[in-house]
Symmetry: C2
Subunit: 352 residues, 2 copies
C-alpha cells in the first residue's frame, strides 16, 4: 500500500534521518581530532571501530591509529589478574577511586570473553564499578576476547594505543583468565599485578600455571577482620615461596601486599609499591627495554594477525582451515599435512 | 694442463665417484623404508634433511614425514629443563642408562642453540653422555635451535615425529633455556621434568619465569653426601611452595624427588613416579586430550611457519621485515604500520 500524502513522506524522511543519525559513526577525522583531547565518547567509538569484525570498519580503525601515530602517550600500563571470586572488580573500584582522587586520569580495560558478541557485560561491568564509572576522569571498557585464530589476540594492544593517545595516566588491564589471556596481557603491560585471597592453593584453581611466577606484585585481598590471621600466613607463605622461584630479570623483587578492597585498606601502600617498581625499572632501563621488546613482539603478532585475517575473511579458506581441524582430531591427517593443505590453498588465493 | 692418459682419467672418475658417494644423501625411499626398522644412521640423515635450510631439502624432509604418516609411534615424550650447572647431561646419562638397561629404546633430543650453524656441540654432547652414546638402544641428537622467526620454533616437533616412527619407547627432550624453548618444549611433550639443585632461589637465575610452575616432576639433583641436609630442606620448601601454586589440570600432584645423577641414587624411584604420572593421565584421558591439543597447536604453528618461511625465503621480503624492525626500535614507525607494510608486500609476492 502506498500513501503519497505530504505528511507521511515527511514522517518517513524524519524517521530515516533519525535512523541514519543514530547509526552514523563519527568520521576518522572527528575521532583523530577529538581523542587526543580526551573525549571519552569519541574514544569509545574509536575502540568500537577497531573491534569491528567488518573489514571496512577495521580499516577505518587502523586509519585512525595511523592518524594518532604521533601522539605519544605517557600512560603506565598495569595488568591485573586473579582467580574468580578474589574481588577484582571491587579492587579496581578501590584502586581506581584512589587514583582519580590523586588527580590521575584512569582507563580500565577488561578482556572479557562474555562480551564477545552481545557485549552483554558492559552494563554488568559498569554496575560492578559504579563509583568509578561515574567519574569523569575514569574510562571503563570491556574488551571482547574476540575470535582468537592461530593464537592471535583480539585488539587489546590497539585499544591500549588508542587509550594512550587520549592522554590517560594509568591504564589497568584486567584479564579474566580465559585461554592465553594472562600471557597476552603480560606481553603488553609494564607491570603485572596478581590478586590473591587468604588461603592455600585450592583457591588458585582459576589461575593458570606460570601466572604466580610472572607477577611483579602480589596483593592478598580480603586481608580484613576474621581473615586477618590467614592473610598473614598467606603473605608469609608467598614471600617464602617466591624466594624459590626465578628472579625478575629487571632486578625487582616481587612484593606481597595485604589489602582489603572492600574496606579500602592497604591501597595507598600498594600504589607506593607500584611507584617504586616504576622508579626502579625506569632508572635501570628495563622499562624502555620491555617496551621495545613489546613493540617487536606486537610487530610480529600483527603480521601474523594480518595473515590469519586474510585466511579468516575468505570463507572458502576458513572452511578448509576448520575442516582440517576435524580431520586432525579424528586422526585422519597429521598436523603438518593439514597445515600444508591450507597454506597451498592460501597461496593460490588472491589477497585483498 | 691436460693429461689424456687412461690412468689419470680413471683416477679422476674414481675421485669424482668417491666425492659424489660421500656427499649423496639416502633417497626418501631408503629413509622411509629404513627408519621404521630403527636404523639410526638413516634416522640421523632424515633429521638432517628436515633441519636443512635449503627449501628443496626441507621439501624432501616433509615428503619423508608424509611417507611415515601411517607409522604410529608409541614413544612417551618427556621434556627436561633446569638451570645451567644443575647437571642435566649427567642426569640424562644416568636416567638413560637405567632405561636402556630396562630394555627400553631411548632417544635424547637436545634443543641446542650452539649447534645452530656449526653443529659444533654434537661432539660435545656425545662426549658428555659417553656411555649412552655408545649404547645401540640409545640415540642422541642435538637439535639446532634454528632461526626462530615470528616466534616459530625449529623442527623439533618434526624430529619427534621421525624419532617416533623409528620405534623408540622414550624420547627425552632437553631444553637449554634459550628464548622461548621451555614453552615450546612444554607444548610438545607428555610430561615435563624440572631438574634443580639443593639451595634457594639464587641458583634459579638460569630458569625463566613460569617454568617451575609447569613442572609435572621436580628432581633435586646432587642430593648426596655433604649436600644432603640442604637437599632435604629444598625438597620440603618446594613441596610447600607448590601447594600455593595452581593445580595441574590433569589431576596430577607435582612430585619432588631427590636424586644424585652422579652417584646414581633415586633414579629408579623417579622413574616410578614418571610411570605413575603416565598411568594416571592415560587412565583419566588427559594423555589423549593433551596429545590432541598439541596436534591442533602444531597445525596452527606449522601454518604460521609456512607463512614465515615464505617470507624468509624471499630475500626482498625478509629485507623489508628486518628493516622495519630497525625502524620500530628507532621509534620511526609503529609496530602495526610496520607489519602492514610487510604484509602488503607479501600479498603482492607470488608464492613458491
Amino acid at each position: 500500500m502506498q500513501r503519497n500524502s505530504k505528511d507521511s513522506a515527511a514522517k518517513l524522511a524524519a524517521e530515516k534521518s533519525f535512523l541514519t543519525k543514530k547509526r552514523s559513526l563519527p568520521t576518522v577525522d572527528e575521532l583523530a581530532n577529538g581523542i587526543p583531547k580526551g573525549d571519552r565518547f569519541l574514544l569509545a567509538k574509536g575502540i568500537t571501530l577497531l573491534e569491528s569484525e567488518l573489514p571496512e570498519k577495521q580499516k577505518l580503525g587502523y586509519e585512525l591509529l595511523d592518524r594518532l601515530n604521533t601522539v605519544d602517550g605517557k600512560a603506565i600500563q598495569i595488568g591485573i589478574s586473579g582467580p574468580p571470586g578474589v574481588g577484582k572488580s571491587t579492587f579496581i573500584e578501590a584502586l581506581g577511586s584512589y587514583l582519580v582522587d590523586q588527580g590521575l586520569k584512569l582507563a580500565v580495560l577488561a578482556i572479557d570473553p562474555s562480551s564477545q558478541k552481545t557485549r552483554g557485560s558492559i552494563l554488568g561491568d559498569k554496575t560492578r564499578m559504579e563509583a568509578l564509572s561515574k567519574n569523569e576522569n575514569a574510562f571503563i571498557r570491556p574488551s571482547p576476547a574476540g575470535k582468537t585464530l592461530g593464537g592471535v589476540a583480539a585488539k587489546t594492544q590497539e585499544t591500549i594505543q588508542l587509550v594512550e593517545a587520549a592522554g590517560f595516566d594509568v591504564i589497568l588491564i584486567e584479564t579474566v583468565g580465559v585461554g592465553q589471556s594472562e600471557w597476552e596481557v603480560y606481553s603488553m603491560v609494564d607491570c603485572f599485578l596478581l590478586l590473591l585471597q587468604p588461603g592455600g592453593g585450592d583457591e588458585l584453581q582459576g589461575i593458570k600455571k606460570g601466572v604466580v611466577e610472572m607477577a611483579d606484585l602480589i596483593a592478598v585481598n580480603k586481608s580484613d577482620g576474621p581473615h586477618m590471621d590467614l592473610a598473614n600466613q598467606t603473605k608469609l607463605s608467598y614471600l617464602n615461596a617466591l624466594h624459590l622461584f626465578p628472579k625478575n630479570p629487571n632486578g625487582w623483587t616481587t612484593k606481597v601486599n595485604q589489602i582489603s578492597a572492600l574496606e579500602n585498606i592497604g591501597i595507598e601502600d600498594l600504589w607506593k609499591n607500584v611507584n617504586d617498581f616504576f622508579k626502579l625499572v625506569k632508572e635501570n632501563g628495563h622499562f624502555e627495554e620491555r617496551r621495545k621488546a613489546q613493540a617487536l613482539d606486537w610487530y610480529e603478532k600483527h603480521l601474523n594477525q594480518l595473515v590469519w585475517q586474510s585466511i579468516y575473511n575468505k570463507e572458502s579458506l576458513f572452511e578448509i582451515f576448520e575442516e582440517q581441524k576435524d580431520q586432525i582430531i579424528a586422526g585422519k591427517i597429521k598436523p603438518i599435512q593439514a597445515a600444508r593443505a591450507v597454506f597451498q590453498k592460501y597461496s593460490k588465493t588472491p589477497k585483498e
